[in-house]
């Protein structure tokens, strides 16, 4: 079965190795500069490949539909999440809003890993899903801040500044920029750099997931603010959001790979762009809390359990 196969692929096994090492309190550690460098490489590669694919396949209505669906998910998913975090999770308004923003936004590495799993299962997502990924990063931040403002007297922000900071977040810029470069260069321009950005991609991803395993497990070990109820929500959100994403994608007529990818995006929670924005705009919210939920609970769940599930659901929806 594709699910088990995916679990035993080296990419996922390296994640498990990292997590195991951190739980065993090994001193294994990847230098921060190297991990940052690899994550930039992954974004450039995924952006380029998406752009090259769109250059080959041309624009389509599917693309517009997927973009609209992604935007809607990023704006709307934080709302029920916020309610669940307040009522069931027992968080105050500001923390609930901050966490909800993370779940509306997306995780690049979850997407990248999912795309690898889908591709090796024979269902590559369409190239334009990279653009959808970039579109979904920021709207949830705005929604989260609006929720926080309703919940509590939140320090008035210089609005332009925050918008600037989120829209020009390094990862958004690199993803979008690489996508455009791929679009301009096309297949022939991409060929000479393909050995680095395509052939090497999976191997480098292994090393990165090793680091993610270390980071996620260390966070989980040190998470004080994480209650059982919040941990449960950290598992439920991806399941529910992922299913919504897959169903929406299928309903819009996307092929199975792209519908699964939309599910993966919906299921994933940000741990780069959103935490930085929250630290700026909602300093009262506890970073230990939102990073523990997105990075230490939801990310590992998606990588190991979620990806095969969303894939299976998308395949079932596709085959009548």
């Amino acid at each position: 079965m594709a699910g088990i196969d995916a679990l035993l692929s080296p990419v996922i096994l390296f994640f498990v190795l990292g997590a195991a090492a951190a739980f065993a309190r090994s001193d294994l550690a990847i230098p921060e500069a190297v991990a940052k460098g690899i994550s930039l490489y992954l974004m450039a590669a995924i952006g380029l490949k998406g752009g090259v694919q769109v250059a080959a396949s041309g624009l389509s209505t599917d693309m517009a539909l997927a973009a609209a669906a992604g935007l809607a998910l990023s704006c709307l998913l934080p709302l029920p999440a916020y309610a669940a975090l307040r009522l069931f999770g027992r968080l105050d308004g500001v923390n609930a809003a901050a966490v909800a923003a993370h779940y509306g936004s997306v995780s690049v590495v979850t997407f990248v890993t999912g795309a690898e799993v889908l591709t090796s299962a024979g269902h590559p997502p369409a190239g334009y899903m990279v653009a959808v990924l970039a579109l979904m990063e920021t709207p949830a931040i705005i929604v989260g801040l609006m929720l926080a403002r309703r919940a509590a007297r939140v320090e008035a922000q210089p609005k332009g500044a925050l918008l600037h900071e989120t829209l020009l977040n390094g990862s958004v810029v690199l993803l979008t920029g690489s996508f455009v470069i791929g679009l301009v260069a096309g297949k022939p321009g991409f060929a000479p750099i393909a050995p680095v950005f395509e052939t090497a991609f999976r191997g480098v991803l292994c090393l990165f997931l090793l680091d993610m395993g270390l980071v996620a497990a260390r966070r989980l070990r040190e998470a004080r603010a994480l209650t059982a109820r919040l941990a449960l929500l950290g598992l439920l959100f991806p399941l529910v959001h992922g299913s919504i994403g897959v169903l929406l994608g299928s309903a819009l007529g996307l092929e199975a790979g792209s519908a699964a990818a939309l599910g993966i995006l919906a299921a994933s929670a940000s741990y780069i762009a959103v935490p930085a924005a929250m630290r700026l705009a909602l300093p009262q919210a506890d970073p230990g809390l939102y990073l523990a939920m997105s990075l230490a609970v939801t990310f590992p769940f998606n990588i190991t359990v979620g990806l095969p599930l969303y894939t299976a659901l998308a395949l079932r929806m596709a085959s009548p």
Binding site: I30, P31, I272, L280, Q284, P287, G288
Partner: protein, 103 residues
């Protein structure tokens, strides 16, 4: 000590994404000379953090500026709202500098 003058050293431990706001407040208070040092990790009321995170949201650095006593008071007053709202740590201490005219 020959040729040294007393100055005040102000150090602020600041979250990386907040740095532009800090330097803007400092500049508004007339402090445009400073040096930044990296921090590696730490522990506090909000739990542990460490620099080896993919997410840069928790990396911190140390803003350090030398100045005359009066200017230091202006600076601390100017930074106080940011220190409050974001829970930043500010240290102030006395040092001697050589070529005091410059600093």
């Amino acid at each position: 000590m020959t040729g040294t003058v007393p100055r005040r050293k102000i150090e602020v431990l600041v979250d990386a994404p907040l740095l532009p706001r800090l330097t803007a407040l400092a500049a508004a208070a007339g402090v445009t000379s400073y040096t930044l040092f990296p921090a590696l990790g730490g522990s506090g009321a909000g739990g542990r953090w460490s620099e080896d995170q993919v997410t840069g949201a928790q990396s911190k650095l140390l803003f350090m500026a030398l100045m005359a006593e009066e200017k230091a008071q202006t600076l601390v007053a100017a930074l106080e709202p940011l220190l409050e709202s974001h829970g930043l740590l500010l240290m102030s201490s006395r040092v001697e500098v050589v070529r005091g005219g410059k600093f």
